[in-house]
Point group: C2
Chain length 340, copies 2
Amino acid sequence: MKFATYQNGTRDGQLMVVSRDLTKAVAVPEIAGTLQAVLDNWEALAPKLQQVYERLNGEGYASAVAFDEEQCHSPLPRAYQWADGSAYINHVELVRKARGADVPPDFYENPLMYQGGSDAFLPPRAANRLDSEDWGIDFEAEVAVVTGDLPMGSDLVECEKAIRLVMLVNDTSLRNLIPGELAKGFGFFQSKPASAFSPVAVTPDELGDAWKDGKVHLPLLVQLNGEAFGKANAGVDMTFNFPRLVAHVAKTRELSAGSIIGSGTVSNRGEDGGPGRPVAAGGLGYSCLAEVRTVETILNGKATTPFMRFGDRVRIEMLDAAGQSVFGAIDQVIARYNEA
Amino acid sequence: MKFATYQNGTRDGQLMVVSRDLTKAVAVPEIAGTLQAVLDNWEALAPKLQQVYERLNGEGYASAVAFDEEQCHSPLPRAYQWADGSAYINHVELVRKARGADVPPDFYENPLMYQGGSDAFLPPRAANRLDSEDWGIDFEAEVAVVTGDLPMGSDLVECEKAIRLVMLVNDTSLRNLIPGELAKGFGFFQSKPASAFSPVAVTPDELGDAWKDGKVHLPLLVQLNGEAFGKANAGVDMTFNFPRLVAHVAKTRELSAGSIIGSGTVSNRGEDGGPGRPVAAGGLGYSCLAEVRTVETILNGKATTPFMRFGDRVRIEMLDAAGQSVFGAIDQVIARYNEA
């Protein structure tokens, strides 16, 4: 199944069932008004929604509309949990190599994870409004899953079964605020402003063979100002798969339905095992600016690619083997908050 | 006004308006079914709830029931945000002194804050079930506020005006998991299991003169296994008041209604400006075990007070000047999760 949430002036928006090819959508008020309501009562509602989905893909509904990504909010406009891992250790290795530090062995055993703010996500096509370019604005293209309820200490099998939905995320980071925050020892806070999620969230079965070993085996396409910037494969070099990330969250507490767990910035090793090359040079490119800046530092002694300025635009999308967009596209321009 | 949430088998429970003296409660389904619904539409609903509250304190309602703290969930059983500061720098000073480190000057300028999990809080009178005593189970007695909506970059006046409710919290910490997590640089995660909030959340005006300068000027009473353990005054030695803490959250992002912002462990300096004394020795005692262990380390070279074991119980409450409980009491016994 594929779901979206249309903006309708309410805090949680209007749940829409979206056709597989992202051309049609239909509201299902008789089943559920919001995606959180579906997640809260998944076992009872999923079979009904599956019927709607099949008919939408088949004979269709008179009440269906042309699906419009511009009308979408994040599938969960607000959520009870957003925990983001750092599952692609290549990214960590590069950052550390740039400053001459090794990666501690524990980093390969236990996921790094931070708790993000989840009270106010951004719509995937709205401007990403921030107060200052001086904060060092960066995108982070990632994959995320949405879970059902889970007991404390759930094992990997339970965690995989609890994955209800998959989506993309731009976990915007304010790079110039990070060193000060990490130095204080409590982790990220102001350096992580509001995230935006792809217009469409899909059940894992929609991914077919691309959903394997708890990973999404497809390239994550990133464009910066209309030019290809990254196409790293989310199924490659993912040290911790999604069940591992979910289990990390559930280690010391229960998880409630609608928890969003992210992969961290997708990052593949270069063909020679070292830092990858830009897309323009035939490489897989990058899923955030910090990584290309790190590679520049390793290769040239200094970073030359700037962070984002007002007016810059990032687009994040994933196509299936047939070239069809799976989740729709996050497409955000950076704008000045107080000119809103 | 005073509000509670009765457990009723639903995820968000049943909103109850509670009388000032905590003896009576009444459901208000014609106004709102849940506390989050009130916070989502505060301007429209607060005047109606105020009328109910005044009548409940006066002539009363035939539909009112005797208020029962045992039936309460946390006022927000799940929330869209739980961000916890560390506003009582005395606590930080003691921890650092115990290991021979100074407090960086920046700690007095900008609050330390971490983002907590908010998808599944505990009821204030239910057992706090955890998998292992080896985790180093500790309580942290704190005050927290619940906010309305706030724009990014809100100033202190806006932040103070947006404070809708005040409550108490036990921010359980797993001390033995903290060093490993902090060493990895991303802050707390598994070391912060589910928190529990006081049975009752109150509007700031309920605190009368005790709500001043954005702080709650009352002793926070902590009992461990029935014995007085702490009575630090939450209005004393609070380096960052609640508007400052809220402004810290709103610096780089908007805040949504129902965001919970905590004070961190309440901690007062000793009378001589140094580490305080236990209540039994005539001091103000402590609001967490880590602090007494730190003081023991400073005074005696080693910590002797153990962390909590299964069967241990902590009670957290605040009385007004007349000796009346303001928020009801958090009263949690530690139990083994898998014996649930």
